[in-house]
Symmetry: C2
């Protein structure tokens, strides 16, 4: 045990003014660190006299004191940080909006939302990196995390791990977002409209497989047993690529195409029109996501409208899971998709 060491003769103006701690505030206010903590946290358990409160607040203000989040959460044994991986591929407006809602809603519930740049670490590597931050909850699109990773996170104190994706993951809450449903709607719509040879655009750009694969799979399901065929059409998001595809369009003998989303639809539509392929007469065209841009095309684009669960809902799910540790991880919602028929198919 050792006496509080009095500071060594300090330079009157320290070169790098150290960041003030609660001890500095205490010293300046002439109280103990405990009192500082009570005052600044409005601790209900302890009554502090008004004059003391004022002195503490003034001292904190004067020093520009900012509490040290890491130290706090180290002491109390948990944080209120909700971690999400930062999307590694530019997120569309739909998903961006969803994320914003989620952040806002979690903020209202007094969580701190943090998007972590996983930087290409994958699987357990990523889970490890996230676990180091000891988040109270993790929300993650499926694909990046296996049951392994979920286990790591839970063991390191995460009270809730929510996976958004097409399939259940052992140990995690699942927000069921099955994009096969998107493809299924589109496929069913086209078949019902009498189309027989359906092309499906698959983006060449990396990072889209998460959606494109299930959407393709959905189309396959929809045409099953109808005698219609499905043709994969890999397509890069570039004008020349679209032109090439359109150039061999007639040889493909397709009478319909589902374009993954509205942006690829726009790309392909222009190329088809440049080749004088009639849309929708010769080829029906259906996009997805129901972006405004689709309504601006000529012909107006038929599309699949996707209803994501609201950010608020997900936030409440997270909150419930955090507060009730015994709560059994479970599937919680589902993605709804329906075709909005317009002029292109």
């Amino acid at each position: 045990m050792r006496v509080q060491t009095p500071e060594p003769p300090a330079p009157t103006v320290p070169v790098a003014p150290a960041t003030p701690t609660s001890a500095d505030v205490a010293r300046l206010a002439g109280v103990s660190r405990a009192t500082v903590s009570y005052v600044l946290n409005n601790s209900r358990a302890v009554r502090i006299s008004e004059p003391t409160r004022r002195r503490v607040h003034e001292a904190a203000e004067e020093l520009g004191y900012v509490p040290h989040a890491a130290a706090r959460s180290l002491r109390v044994g948990h944080s209120r940080m909700v971690l999400m991986p930062a999307p590694s591929v530019p997120a569309g407006p739909l998903y961006s909006q969803f994320l914003n809602d989620l952040q806002w809603a979690l903020g209202r519930l007094d969580y701190t939302v943090v998007q972590y740049g996983g930087m290409g670490l994958r699987g357990d590597q990523a889970a490890r990196a996230w676990a180091e931050l000891r988040p109270v909850a993790v929300v993650v699109p499926s694909g990046g995390l296996g049951p392994q990773g979920v286990h790591v996170l839970k063991r390191s104190g995460a009270r809730a791990v929510v996976v958004m994706g097409p399939e259940r993951i052992e140990g995690a809450h699942t927000l069921l977002l099955d994009h096969r449903e998107v493809g299924r709607s589109a496929g069913a719509h086209l078949v019902a409209a009498g189309r027989r040879r359906i092309g499906v655009v698959i983006p060449r750009e990396a990072g889209h497989e998460v959606f494109s694969v299930p959407r393709l799979e959905g189309v396959r399901r929809a045409v099953e047993g109808t005698g219609a065929t499905v043709t994969e059409l890999p397509l890069g998001y570039r004008e020349e690529a679209a032109a090439r595809l359109a150039g061999r369009w007639r040889s493909l003998r397709l009478d319909a195409v589902f374009t993954y989303n509205d942006e690829y639809a726009q790309l392909l539509l222009r190329a088809l029109q440049d080749e004088r392929v009639g849309v929708p007469d010769e080829t029906a065209l259906v996009g997805a996501d129901d972006l405004l841009l689709g309504r601006l095309l000529r012909p107006r684009l038929s599309t699949v409208r996707i209803e994501l669960p609201s950010g608020r809902e997900l936030a409440e799910l997270v909150d419930r899971a955090v507060r009730d540790p015994a709560c059994v991880p479970q599937v919680h919602s589902t993605l709804a998709a329906r075709v909005v028929p317009r002029e292109s198919g």
Copy 2:
């Protein structure tokens, strides 16, 4: 001083298996916590025998040990966290790409990039919240942070604060992104093409003022002294709003319009065409951002191409600023913009 309390008779299977600490690893490996730390950090300062290393690694593996980032950074006195506010309005592809590059580049330099959901706190409030996390650096679009905020962050240990925006901020490094330049290019181009009455679309949606105000200002500068006039055209990103604007188009007597960006250009173009306003004959149309979608329109959209500095450059700036604390905060780069003339104006 108190003897290490032997655990109270522990249940054989703890209900909530506490997250393992380095002490647990030490215990299992039969070594001290110090040794564990040395081994797991590959400490060069100390030689540890190979058998010991193995035992430690095995113990860590078996327990699923994950180090506690907060505890570490508390001890060492700093983190390698670079903090950025999460964009509160869906970021366009241009900015998204920039952010991704930046994240990747910072990751390569061994920083941990974290996007923090500021949740509508503004100014010093936000700076305070960020400072609590004790990031080693902060990268922030201007507008959210004054000299005050910069000071708070620096005082709480941030070695670098980089502001991206049109103006210098006291105490911060500035990545000069002056969007007036975007408007200036567009304006100059239109004036040079003989246009006299120039409309400028201002998005009604909140969160775009950061760009729309300087872009408008830039157009104003460009026409100054040319006799041409500038008319503000507030426009919501909705079809009906565009239709209304187009409906009164001829009464506005404009012969050119700069639409803030390519998406608003597409919106307005369709509405103008529905009103049989000739583009570019009657009205020239210039967008911004040079998105692919502009090239897909008929007529192909003239636009302002923006050259953001690369994420790698900014990452290096951050790194330099972090490593050299004495480095004087300074303006560091600038936004380049040039018109890509196509068919619409």
